[in-house]
């Protein structure tokens, strides 16, 4: 379980030595990607910039909670950005709601949470047939509703759902083969 990508080592350097050069490299790599991700989701420019800054600030502050054996840096940072976005929406409209940041999956076995798996997921995504990969990307990453995806790809709604199902089964199978 020692597969550590470069980015994970940078987060570890930030955690252990408060290393600003490592942090700068993380910023340089992730901030522009986070921004284009947020913009594509329809987050307005200024808020997108704020959420990018907050995400990286959280990386700096919580670097010691990052465990390189459990997840890749990109996965960890993706979940930070997601949580900040949820929290932002919640604060705007649900005052009684306390958002527990570590929403968490206490029951996932430790063997399953590994950085190695994150690399395999990345490989398995690249190996998906193009039609399945397109549906996964539009649905999961771009958060497009299924009817929109159907219209965009010119396929029936049922086909969107079945491709999504096939893709998830393939990804699961790809991981199980290797563990």
């Amino acid at each position: 379980m020692t597969a550590q990508d470069d980015k994970s080592l940078l987060v570890v350097a930030v955690a252990q030595r408060r290393d600003r050069e490592s942090f700068r490299l993380l910023f340089q790599y992730f901030a522009p990607r986070l921004k284009s991700y947020l913009l594509r989701l329809g987050v307005q420019g200024q808020l997108a910039d704020e959420l990018v800054q907050e995400t990286l600030l959280t990386v700096w502050r919580k670097a010691d909670r990052f465990d390189p054996a459990r997840a890749a840096a990109a996965t960890w940072i993706f979940t930070i950005a997601r949580n900040l976005r949820i929290d932002h929406l919640r604060r705007a409209k649900l005052p009684g709601d306390y958002f527990v940041e570590e929403e968490f999956c206490p029951s996932a076995g430790d063997d399953y949470l590994s950085a190695e798996r994150d690399g395999q997921v990345s490989q398995a995504l690249k190996a998906l047939p193009a039609d399945q990969a397109a549906v996964i990307k539009l649905s999961f990453f771009d958060e497009k509703p299924h009817p929109i995806i159907a219209a965009q790809l010119g396929i029936p709604l049922g086909t969107v759902k079945s491709r999504l199902r096939l893709a998830m089964n393939r990804l699961r199978a790809a991981l199980e083969d290797k563990t």
Binding site: A31, P32, V52, T75, S107, S122
Partner: protein, 207 residues
């Protein structure tokens, strides 16, 4: 042994943050006890990481990093968690800090405790408890409904939902629920819109 799970679609929406808050809390209550669904969640989060890396970088303001550096040493205001809710119901970890409203009786043996209401999305989250053998009259939904069984069991037609099971119903499902004969059944339910076909008083109390 958990028999009924959320769909992949819903877990993906939970993972990318697009599931509405109340539905996400009901689904999170399931994740709290289900290893299989946690595996799907961690898979989805890893997909998010991989896709983030594949993203085409956008332009940032040149001063962005300098601004960030200036904030690194600013002390963080601690947000203190509200006191954990102390009620005699085994709450999943993700609901422990929610304010659980007072119990109201919907009918003899059937109570509700409101948790959250999201007016913008027209969704709400509540606990529903029913005494052994109680039945909820047949009803439909005008939107998605997610139910996680916290204790006890109920039957929906011929299907049994026991502790840990998850029921995801959409707007074309009509169902009537019957609580198991042996113990009280308590569920956390997130629903969109209002139930169709329940007696008026019941409906007003739920909505």
């Amino acid at each position: 042994m958990i028999q009924h799970h959320p769909t992949d679609e819903s877990i993906l929406a939970y993972a990318n943050g697009s599931l509405s808050r109340t539905l996400a809390l009901a689904l999170g209550a399931h994740l709290d006890v289900c290893e299989q669904c946690c595996r799907t969640l961690t898979l989805a989060e890893a997909m998010g990481g991989a896709m983030l890396e594949a993203e085409t970088p956008a332009e940032l303001d040149e001063t962005a990093f300098a601004k960030l550096l200036a904030q690194l040493d600013v002390p963080v205001a601690k947000i203190t968690a509200p006191p954990a809710t102390d009620i005699a119901i085994p709450l999943p970890a993700n609901l422990r800090y929610q304010r659980i409203g007072a119990r109201r009786w919907l009918a003899p043996g059937i109570w509700i405790r409101p948790v959250l209401k999201d007016n913008a999305e027209g969704t709400r989250l509540y606990l529903l408890g029913a005494a052994p053998g109680k039945a909820l009259p047949p009803h439909g939904h005008s939107g998605v409904e997610m139910t996680q069984v916290l204790t006890g069991e109920f039957h929906d037609g011929g299907t049994r939902y026991g502790t840990g099971d998850f029921l995801e119903a959409d707007d074309d499902i009509e169902h009537s629920l019957m609580v198991g004969a042996n113990e009280e059944c308590i569920c956390v339910i997130a629903s969109q819109g209002v139930p169709r076909g329940l007696p008026g008083l019941l409906m007003r109390l739920i909505a």
